[in-house]
């Protein structure tokens, strides 16, 4: 009888535990990516990555047809600014919080195609900061830490796309 009680307790705990694990697993994996990336490039600065090949491990399922640049941000010391020239072909700037949610993004597609040729200047602020205190394009991050990822098409002639990423920056305001 005692053994049955133990087994029942283990089963109930395991059943509930799987949902707890599901809730923390994305954060743990993101933490791994965040600290792994920080070791290579530090925080609040843009790292432009080479076109992925079989050795690329910074992104799961990397696309060999995309150019990537990333900025691991930390807003504990204040907002940061991301400046990025927007090229003609496919380009996007995506923001991810530490639970993997893609909470904001800018592209040069559809209605945003008018952005082509301009420079995106985004002020990224923390959740407890007031957007009214800043000018221009302001994005509020739900968490102090996260990842900003720039993607640009690498198909065909990639000269303009590569130049746009090389000229981009991410740093303190």
């Amino acid at each position: 009888m005692k053994l049955l009680k133990w087994l029942l307790a283990i089963l109930v705990a395991a059943w509930a535990g799987q949902y707890l694990l599901a809730m923390v697993a994305p954060n743990l994996i993101m933490e791994g990516v965040y600290f792994g990336g920080a070791k290579q490039g530090g925080y609040n600065q843009l790292v432009v990555r080479p076109v992925p090949d079989e050795t690329a491990r910074s992104v799961v399922r990397p696309s060999p047809d995309l150019l990537y640049a990333s900025c691991l941000y930390n807003l504990e010391d204040g907002p940061i600014v991301i400046e990025a020239p927007i090229p003609e072909r496919y380009w996007s700037m995506q923001f991810y919080q530490m639970n993997t949610d893609n909470f904001a993004g800018i592209t040069n597609q559809r209605a945003d195609s008018k952005r082509v040729g301009s420079v995106a200047k985004v002020t990224l602020i923390s959740a407890d900061d007031d957007p009214a205190n800043y000018q221009g394009e302001v994005i509020q991050s739900p968490t102090d830490r996260g990842i900003m990822l720039l993607r640009a098409s690498a198909i065909g002639d990639r000269t303009q796309q590569q130049a746009a990423l090389d000229a981009s920056r991410c740093g303190p305001l």
Binding site: W6, A16, G17, E54, V60, P64, Y90, T100, D101, N102
Partner: protein, 201 residues
């Protein structure tokens, strides 16, 4: 007292292990339920989105971390043809044309979710580098051995076979960037390439 503490530790460990096993099983079941099938291609419609289920978020974290939302790009994955997992000893033919998207690509990934090492350093084809017929249609041959035309080489992954999570040797991922309404509104029936098994050795 010591005996009780040891029992509690053992029970906690057993519960954690069982929870991990249940999670792994439910990820597969849950993703299947949240997936949309389009022939042999499968897409999950909430990847990267804030409204994604925790199980889907966990799966995405393992297999497609930092994925974009579907308005930005859609991903269709194919790991089996007519229910048979993709194998390295088989040759597959992909028939396609152009699709309603800003651009598209088809990439082969190993069982470790990374690009497959190959001497050609060719990991994908896209709408610009694929060799087309006169009518704009194209054929890609996926095989370990060299093929004429659009050959997408596959081979063993960079990770050892014991790290395989699925029953397939490799899989294909079609990306549609800025997909048209057909993909956003009806991902189960929007036009996609056809993949057929040609032969196995």
């Amino acid at each position: 007292m010591l005996k009780s503490i040891l029992k509690l530790c053992a029970a906690t460990l057993a519960a954690i292990l069982l929870a991990a096993m249940l999670l792994a099983r439910n990820i597969n079941v849950g993703v299947e339920e949240m997936s949309v099938h389009n022939g042999d291609w499968i897409t999950t419609v909430s990847a990267g989105a804030a409204d994604a289920d925790p199980l889907l978020k966990t799966t995405v974290a393992f297999s497609a971390l930092l994925a974009s939302t579907r308005e930005n790009s859609m991903y269709y994955r194919l790991a089996a043809v007519d229910g048979e997992p993709l194998r390295l000893n088989c040759r597959y033919r992909i028939d396609g044309r152009d699709y309603d998207a800003n651009w598209w690509s088809i990439t082969a990934y190993g069982w470790d979710n990374y690009l497959i090492p190959n001497a050609e350093k060719r990991y994908s084809f896209n709408n610009e580098n694929v060799i087309r017929r006169g009518d704009g249609s194209w054929v890609i041959t996926v095989a370990a051995r060299e093929q004429p035309g659009n050959w997408l080489p596959v081979g063993p992954s960079g990770a050892p076979p014991w790290r395989k999570l699925g029953d397939y040797d490799f899989d294909l991922l079609m990306r549609l960037y800025t997909p048209g309404d057909a993909y956003l509104d009806a991902p189960q029936s929007a036009p996609l390439p056809t993949v057929t098994l040609e032969a196995c050795e």
